[in-house]
């Protein structure tokens, strides 16, 4: 039996808007096993990013249970969550989110600053991660000196440098041209297939979703059953 990496039950997230409460995610229950590559799809406002943020513990649920990598995220303090995220989760953003004043190597080295690694070891790890994504020659380049595709590859290197169990990607190809998007997706597939990483990717692009081993759809804050698609979803 496969090891369960993510398990949510009746997970709900509500936001207060003036006197109204808006449910961004309603009673979502999902189970993702080790080595899965799951794409979360759905129209804008369907709750897919909200679910991803809850899995990454970037936000706290209003109701329901969530266990990720064996941790009950609701019971952890802010500090414990930060340490847990640093050690176990790699996050890839749509707009790369590199620190513009740091070089590619320094950006990738950042998460390692929170470990007990010596400086030389950190540099070696970050260099290796950049070599893995094909940027071994761009270590000293700042984000402004890189193309969008290269920036996203640096972001992937940063996400994998701590050797996390889980990689979460929020529209990782959303800001890329077709060729760069293909490169990024190939990398994610490699990380999943060859390195056994569990990946959850939010996307609205059906082509990107094909890289995943399974796709789950959301609509109006509800996670649809496996195989079900939103009404009028013509992709």
């Amino acid at each position: 039996m496969s090891e369960v990496v993510i398990e949510t039950r009746n997970l709900t997230k509500e936001f207060a808007r003036d006197e109204f409460r808006i449910a961004a995610l309603k009673h979502a229950s999902i189970q993702i096993n080790k080595g899965d590559f799951v794409a979360l799809m759905g129209p804008s406002g369907s709750g897919k990013s909200t679910l991803l943020h809850l899995i990454a513990a970037m936000d706290r649920p209003s109701n329901g249970d969530i266990r990720v990598l064996g941790e009950d995220l609701r019971s952890l303090s802010d500090g414990a969550i930060a340490r847990w995220r640093n050690a176990h989760v790699g996050f890839i953003f749509q707009s790369f989110n590199l620190l513009p004043v740091l070089t590619a190597l320094e950006n990738v080295e950042l998460p390692l600053k929170l470990t007990r690694m010596a400086k030389s070891e950190r540099t070696a790890h970050a260099t290796k991660a950049l070599q893995l994504v094909g940027l071994g020659e761009r270590l000293t380049h700042t984000p402004r000196q890189l193309s969008g595709g290269q920036e996203q590859r640096v972001a992937i290197a940063r996400a994998i440098v701590t050797d996390p169990d889980l990689i979460l990607a929020d529209e990782p190809t959303g800001n890329l041209d077709a060729a760069s998007a293909r490169d990024v997706l190939e990398m994610l597939v490699t990380l999943n297939k060859e390195f056994g990483k569990t990946i959850v990717m939010v996307t609205h692009d059906p082509h990107s979703a094909k890289s995943a081993s399974s796709v789950r759809y959301l609509e109006k804050g509800e996670l649809l059953p496996p195989g079900a698609k939103p009404v009028d979803w013509d992709a």
């Binding site: 943020h53 930060a82 989110n97 513009p100 004043v101």
Partner: protein, 389 residues
């Protein structure tokens, strides 16, 4: 582990115009404080450098300054023979009867003139000070002649009191025959002349101002001062010469108080400027703050990073402040002495300790100015921070 310092340094460099303007604002506050402290230190140093440790100043009971003290020749004859007074090679007591008065000297900056101390003394009185004073131009005044020797500070600031010039005071003209370098001591702002010539000029042949006695040692000095003070017939006060001058540092207190108040007001302004800069930095880098939190950096790490950045900014301000104030070092100026009612010339002194105070002052401005924006940056929820761009 903390967010690397290079992140803060490079961010400061990336917005160099804002950084420079804020640092310059802090620098001006620091320069203001440094110039006030340099003035107080220069004044303190001038008075602290005056007075032999074994010299005792004797004045009329109740007098606070030589200018309002009177001492009769007869009294002087008694006090110089008291036990504990040192003797010179001839066996004569080391004692100096002196007359102090003020004259009005004009200078180009203040045409209406400024009070300057004139001290009448004998060769014995000069000899009691010769370890601190040397004639650097011309020669010593001769007794019985209308000649003066002026302190270097006077010669520098008053063109009419330079070597070879005549000075008009009392009953007529006095010739400047020498310039004396008295180091940083108060004699640098005085005019020395023959005691009896001055006494005659001022019609004070029998009643002069004060006496200076050299004690043989510290114990004798204390005994001598007690003996003189306890003698009701003499009706005099005796105190260490060094203390008499050190107490005159109080003359700088009003300017010190106003200066420090102005520096504090400027510091509050600079603190708000630093706060504004750091608020803008936190707002501009909101997504970066969110990203750092996603990578695992704690709220405390974010707070520390932004406070450090503000401290770096203020450090640059402190360097600017020191560079602005350094040209004032050794600049000669004068201040009205509220004890002697005359001007004391002195040099502004920017010492390492004063510069360290300037750095500490800047760091307080930066630390306090940066704390609130840093706390606000650290408190942001991750998703809020990521969306604010």
């Amino acid at each position: 582990m903390a967010i690397p310092l290079s992140y803060n340094l490079r961010n400061l460099m990336a917005r160099r115009t804002t950084t420079l303007m804020t640092a310059l604002g802090i620098g001006l506050s620091v320069a203001m404080l440094l110039s006030i402290l340099a003035m107080v230190e220069g004044l303190r140093s001038a008075f602290a450098a005056t007075g032999h440790p074994l010299n005792v100043m004797v004045m009329r009971k109740g007098s606070t300054a030589e200018l309002n003290s009177t001492l009769a020749q007869e009294t002087f004859r008694i006090i110089k023979t008291k036990p504990g007074v040192a003797r010179d090679a001839r066996g004569e007591p080391k004692a100096s009867l002196e007359l102090v008065t003020v004259i009005l000297l004009e200078n180009p900056e203040i045409p209406s003139g400024i009070n300057i101390n004139v001290r009448g003394l004998t060769a014995d009185g000069f000899a009691m000070r010769d370890s601190d004073i040397r004639i650097v131009q011309g020669r010593m005044f001769q007794s019985g002649r209308r000649e003066v020797v002026v302190g270097q500070g006077i010669a520098d600031r008053y063109p009419m009191a330079r070597l070879g010039k005549p000075l008009q005071f009392g009953k007529g003209e006095w010739q400047v025959v020498g310039v004396m370098d008295a180091g940083r001591s108060a004699a640098n702002s005085e005019v020395f002349c023959d005691l009896f010539q001055l006494a005659s000029d001022q019609n004070r042949e029998t009643t002069l101002s004060s006496a200076l006695l050299r004690a043989t040692d510290e114990v004798s000095m204390r005994v001598l001062m007690n003996t003189l003070a306890d003698d009701k017939q003499l009706s005099v006060d005796a105190l260490p010469e060094a203390k008499y001058y050190a107490d005159q540092t109080a003359s700088g207190q009003p300017i010190q108080a106003v200066g420090i108040l102005v520096a504090i007001i400027m510091a509050i302004g600079s603190g708000f400027a630093a706060m504004n800069t750091m608020y803008a930095a936190a707002a501009r880098r909101s997504a970066e703050i969110g990203t750092l939190r996603v990578l695992g950096f704690s709220k405390l790490a974010i707070l520390t990073s932004f406070v450090l950045e503000s401290l770096l900014l203020s450090l640059l301000g402190a360097i600017f402040g020191c560079l602005l104030a350094l040209p004032l070092n050794n600049l000669e100026t004068g201040i009205g002495n509220s004890v002697t009612f005359s001007e004391t010339t002195f040099s502004l002194r920017i010492t390492p300790a004063i510069m360290a105070t300037g750095f500490a002052f800047a760091l307080v401005i930066g630390g306090l100015g940066g704390l609130i924006p840093a706390a606000s940056a650290a408190r942001k929820e991750i998703l809020t921070a990521l969306r604010q761009n």
